[in-house]
Amino acid sequence: MRVGIEIHQQLDTKNKLFCNCSTILREDPPHFIVIRKLRPVTSELGEVDQAALFESEKQKIFQYQGYVDSTCLVELDEEPPHEINKDAVMISLTVAKMLNMIIVDEIHVMRKIVIDGSNTTGFQRTAKIALDGWIDDEEGRVSIKSLCLEEDSARKISEGPDYVVYRLDRLGIPLIEISTGPDIRSGDQARRVALKLGRILKATGMVKRGLGTIRQDLNISIEGGARVEIKGVQELGLISTVVNYEALRQKNLIEIAEELRRRNAYASEELFDVTEIFSLTTSKIIKKELIAGGKVFAIILHGFADILRKDIQPGRRFGTELSDYAKVYGGIGGIFHTDELPAYGISEDEVRALRNKLNANSMDCIVIAAGEPQSCKRALLAVVRRANQALLGVPAEVRAANPDGTTHFMRPMPGAARMYPETDIPSMVITEDILNKIKLPELLELKIKRFIEGYGLSPDLASLIIESPYSSTFEELVNNYKIDPSFVASTFEYTFRMLRREGVDVDSFDKNQILELFLRINKGDFAKEALPNILRWLSNNKGKSIEDAINALSLTRVDISIIRDSARKIVEENMELIKREGEHSLKKLMGDLMKLYRGKIDGKIIYEILREEILKKLA
C-alpha cells in the first residue's frame, strides 16, 4: 500500500492573500449578489478534454454573494490582485523550514485553471514556496514533496441543476498546501503523519482553528490497484479507517475484475424503454417519477449476476459504486438492479417481465433508472462505463469521504493541472534578509514534554495548554509570579471552556486582569472556588474592577480565627458522630462548614482547620 497526504490549512492572517479584506466567514445575509459565467480558454493541446469540460459546464450560472465591508473588487474579479501578503509568505517559509524543505529563490504566483465557479477568475492563484523536505515517523522518514501558498476558494452555499451559489467570504483566505510523497505504508502511519503535520502548522501560532480550517486529502493505491484521491477527510481520527477501507475496496475490486474476466462479462450500451412494464407498479419511487412524466429505462450487464451485491466496503456494495456514477452523471436519485430485486415495491412479475424484454439469462444483471429520460440515459450510460471499467480493476478517480470512513465517487481523476503565470503579480525574491527573519517556533512535541516535566502538568492538561492561545500567558504567570501551574492551566483550559459554553465572554479579559485574579488568590483575598463566579460577574459588569466583584459577591476575606471558631462549634455539636466514625466524620462535617464559607476562603484551608480540630478531640 502506498499513501500520500495532502493537507490544506487556512492561515490566521489579518488580511487575505491578494487584497486587504479580513479573513472572516460570515453567516449574516449577504449585501449583494453578482452573476457570472465561466468558459475555459482554449489551448493548443488537448482540445477534446477541453470540449468535454466545456460541454459539462457550459450551462452553469454562478451566483456570488458578497459583503460590502469584507469582500472587495478583488474577490469579484473586478480589480487586479494586490501584491502577495507578506505575513502569509513568512508563515509558509517558517513551515517550510520546519519540514526541512528547500525554499525557492524567487516566488512566482501561478494561475491554476478551475472552472467549477469556486474562483471568480476561473483559476486559483497558487505559488510554490518550497520543495523536497521530510519529517521523521516511527515507521521511517516520509518525504514532503511540495509546499504551496494559495488562495482558498469561494464557499459553496447551494446548487441546482444549472446554477451554483457561492459566498465570497472564504475566497482569498491564505492556505498552505503540503503534500507528502507516497511513502506512507499504513493507515496508522497516515494518521500519525497527518497529526504531526497539523502540530507543526499549529506550532506557528498563525493558523486558523475550528471546523473547515484544515482539510486532508489522501492519495491511496495498492499493488494492482490505482491511485485514488480521497477528499474531505475532516477528522484526524478517521484517516486510518479511510485508508484501510480504501485498501479493502481496491482489493475487492481486483477480485471482482478477475471474476468478471473469468465469466467473459461485459456491459451493453443498448438502452431499453421499459416504462410499459411498470405502468401498474406498486413501487412508490417509480410511481412518483411516472406521474411527473418520467420514464423507466433499463440496460443489461452480461455475466454480472450476484456481482452487484458483493460488499466492497462495510455497508457499500459494488451496486453502490454503480449507483454513485448514475447520481453524479445523471443527477438522478439512484438505480435498481436485479441483484436486489424483487424489493422496494418492485414485484417478481415485473422482474420477470424485465428479464423477458431484455432477453436476460440468470447470469445477467439488469439495471433500471426512473425519471426524466435524458437524465436516465446519462445515468445508465455512466453505469455501463463503470461496469466495463470493472473488468480492468480499479479506476483512478476522485472520491469523497463519508462520515463512517467509507467513500463515494466524486469525479474522474483530472488530467495534469493547467497552469500559467499570474502576470498581474510581480515575482518575489526570497532574500537572505527574509530568510534570517524566520523564527522557528518550538515544536509541540518538545513543548509538551517541557510542560509535563517542567511544570508538573498532567499529560492531558499539557496537551491542551500547549496548543492554547493562552500558552504564552500561562508561562508568563507561572514563571514570573510563581502561581500554581496546574491551577493556571486548568483555569484556562477547563474553567474557561466551561464558562465559554455558558456564554461568558472569557476571552475578552485582558492579561493584567487575569494576572490580578491569580495574585489575589495567592494572597488569600478570595478562594480558588470563587473564580468562576467572579469571571461571570465581571463579564456581566464590563468596566468594573475585581475589587467591585469581590464586594458585590460578598467574598471579603474571612479571618482564620473565625473559621476556627466555627470549626470548633461544629465539632462540639457532633461529638457523637466523631467518636463513632473517627476521621471519616471529616467528610460529612466539611460539607456543613463549606456551606458557611464557600468561595470566601480556599476549601483546602477550611479542610485543614477542621481536620486539626477533629484530631484534637480524638487524641
Binding site: 475555459p40 473586478e78 480589480e79 524567487e106 512566482h108 477568475t121
Partner: protein
C-alpha cells in the same frame, strides 16, 4: 530573442547554450531541479532564471547558486488542432476589425505563453457560437495598446470600415483596448457621415486569457448587435453591470470610461444609451439613426488641439507655449458651469486673437455648461470662448480636431461646434440623464 533575460542571467544561459522552452536540469549548491526554461518578466531582475517544474509550477532560481545547467532532449509538442469552418448560408455578414489587444486568446499550458487568437479561424475555435450568429470576416488592422492611439489611426479605421461597407456587410465590430475606446468612438462617429450600418466598438476589462474574461460575452453580443440592431450608429458595447447577464451599447459620442478596472467601466453621460442586450434580445432606445443611406467619409483630424483641465493655481505658461507653437484649438475642462480662474483670461483672449478656437466644457462631466449665470462666464463668452453645451470634454476635443481639419474660420468653427453632428449635443437636458 532574450525573453526578458538580460545582463548576468542572459550571460549564464548563453554560457550553457540553453534557450527558453528547453527542458533543462539545473544543479545548484543546494539541490537539483529539472523543468522547462521559462521567459522572464521584463520587470524582473537579472539575478534569477525561471523554470517550470513537472507539476506546472514556476520557480525562480538564483544564478549565484547555479553550478551547472544541462539540456534534456524532449519530444516535440503535438501539432495545433484546427477545426474546419462551416459557413452557414443566409446568415448576416459581419466584419471584425481588430486594432490591438486580444479579443480571444490561446494558452500554451506547457510554457504559459498566451497568444492572441485573431484570425477568423482562431475566433471560431475560441468562440464557436459566433458561427451561429453571423458569417465572420476578420481584418487585423492594427496591433496597438490603446494608450498609444493617435488621430491618424482613427482615419485608418474609418477608411477600413468604408472598405468593408463597400464589400457588403450588415454590421462591423471593431475591437479596441478600453483606455481610449471612448475617444475612438467619438472620432468614428464624426468621421462616418450618413453611416448605413451599425459600427460596434468592443473591448474587455479582464484579459481574454482567463476563464472569467468579459471578452467572450462582449464580443458575442457585439457581433449580434452589428448583425441585427436596427440603428446605424457608432456604439461602444460593454457590460452594463459587473454580472455576466446584460450588456449595454453606448452612443459613441456620449460614452466615457468611468472606472479603472470594473467590467461596467463604460457609462453613458448626459444621454441614454443606444441599446441593452439580454439573453440575445436587443432592446433599443429612441431616437437613433436607422439603417440605410450611403456613407460619406470625412475622416481627417487636425491634431494641433489640446485639452486642458482648469484647477486652482493652473500655470499661465501653457497658453504662451500653445500660441507660440501654432496650436489651433484648446478645449478647456472648466470648473462648474464652465468657469476658469480670472488670471488666465488675458491669455485666453490672446489665444483667440491669434485665431485659436477655445471651447469650454465642464469637469463635472454631468450637466451642461452655462456661462451666463456668473460674470466670469459672461466675460469668457464675450472674448469668443465657445460654450461646449453638454458635450463630454473628450468628445469636444475630438470634435474640434475634426472641425479644424475642415476649416480655420472661427465663425464656421463655432457654428460646427455648436451644432449636433453625431448625437454629441442635446437640446434638452432630460431628467434622469443617462439613467434608464
Amino acid at each position: 530573442m532574450s525573453f526578458g533575460y538580460r545582463g548576468k542571467s542572459l550571460e549564464l544561459l548563453n554560457k550553457y547554450g540553453v534557450n527558453v522552452g528547453d527542458k533543462i536540469f539545473v544543479k545548484t549548491n543546494r539541490a537539483c531541479f529539472s523543468g522547462i526554461l521559462m521567459p522572464r518578466s521584463e520587470i524582473g531582475d537579472d539575478k534569477h532564471i525561471v523554470i517550470k517544474l513537472e507539476d506546472g509550477y514556476n520557480i525562480g532560481l538564483s544564478i549565484s547558486s547555479i553550478i551547472d545547467i544541462e539540456k534534456i532532449p524532449q519530444e516535440t509538442p503535438s501539432k495545433i488542432i484546427q477545426p474546419s469552418i462551416k459557413s452557414i448560408p443566409n446568415l448576416p455578414n459581419v466584419a471584425i476589425i481588430s486594432t490591438g489587444g486580444t479579443i480571444a486568446s490561446r494558452i500554451d499550458y506547457r510554457t504559459g505563453a498566451v497568444s492572441p487568437a485573431l484570425s477568423a479561424q482562431d475566433l471560431y475555435q475560441s468562440i464557436p457560437e459566433l458561427g451561429e450568429i453571423a458569417n465572420i470576416r476578420t481584418e487585423i488592422l492594427l496591433s496597438l495598446l490603446s494608450e498609444n492611439m493617435l488621430p491618424k489611426y482613427w482615419t485608418m479605421m474609418a477608411k477600413s470600415i468604408k472598405n468593408h461597407i463597400e464589400k457588403g456587410v450588415e454590421g462591423i465590430v471593431l475591437t479596441h483596448g478600453t483606455d481610449t475606446m471612448g475617444y475612438t468612438a467619438a472620432a468614428l462617429s464624426f468621421s462616418l457621415r450618413n453611416l448605413p450600418i451599425p459600427v460596434i466598438l468592443v473591448g474587455s476589462q479582464r484579459s481574454s486569457d482567463r476563464p472569467s474574461s468579459d471578452a467572450y460575452f462582449n464580443l458575442k453580443a457585439a457581433v449580434l448587435t452589428a448583425a441585427k440592431a436596427p440603428f446605424a450608429e457608432v456604439g461602444v458595447l460593454m457590460h452594463s453591470s459587473i454580472s455576466d447577464d446584460e450588456l449595454i451599447v453606448h452612443r459613441g459620442t456620449r460614452v466615457r470610461k468611468m472606472h479603472t478596472s470594473r467590467r461596467d467601466a463604460f457609462q453613458s453621460i448626459n444621454s441614454k444609451p443606444l441599446a441593452k442586450i439580454r439573453n440575445g434580445n436587443i432592446e433599443v432606445y429612441k431616437p437613433y439613426k436607422e439603417r440605410g443611406g450611403s456613407l460619406e467619409l470625412k475622416a481627417d483630424f487636425n491634431d494641433k488641439v489640446v485639452l486642458i483641465k482648469c484647477f486652482p493655481g493652473m500655470p499661465l505658461e501653457i497658453f504662451n507655449f500653445l500660441i507660440e507653437r501654432g496650436y489651433r484649438g484648446i478645449v478647456l475642462e472648466g470648473t462648474g458651469l464652465g468657469h476658469a480662474p480670472e488670471y488666465i483670461f488675458p491669455y485666453i483672449k490672446e489665444a483667440i486673437d491669434n485665431g485659436i478656437a477655445v471651447v469650454m466644457t465642464s469637469q463635472c462631466l454631468f450637466g451642461r455648461v452655462n456661462m451666463n449665470v456668473y460674470s466670469t462666464g459672461r466675460i469668457l463668452l464675450s472674448m469668443g470662448v465657445i460654450p461646449g453645451e453638454d458635450m463630454l470634454p473628450e468628445t469636444a476635443l475630438v470634435k474640434l480636431m475634426w472641425v479644424l481639419a475642415q476649416t480655420n474660420d472661427l465663425n464656421e468653427i463655432k457654428k460646427l461646434m455648436l451644432s449636433n453632428i453625431a448625437g454629441e449635443i442635446s437640446e434638452r437636458s432630460e431628467y434622469g440623464g443617462s439613467i434608464l
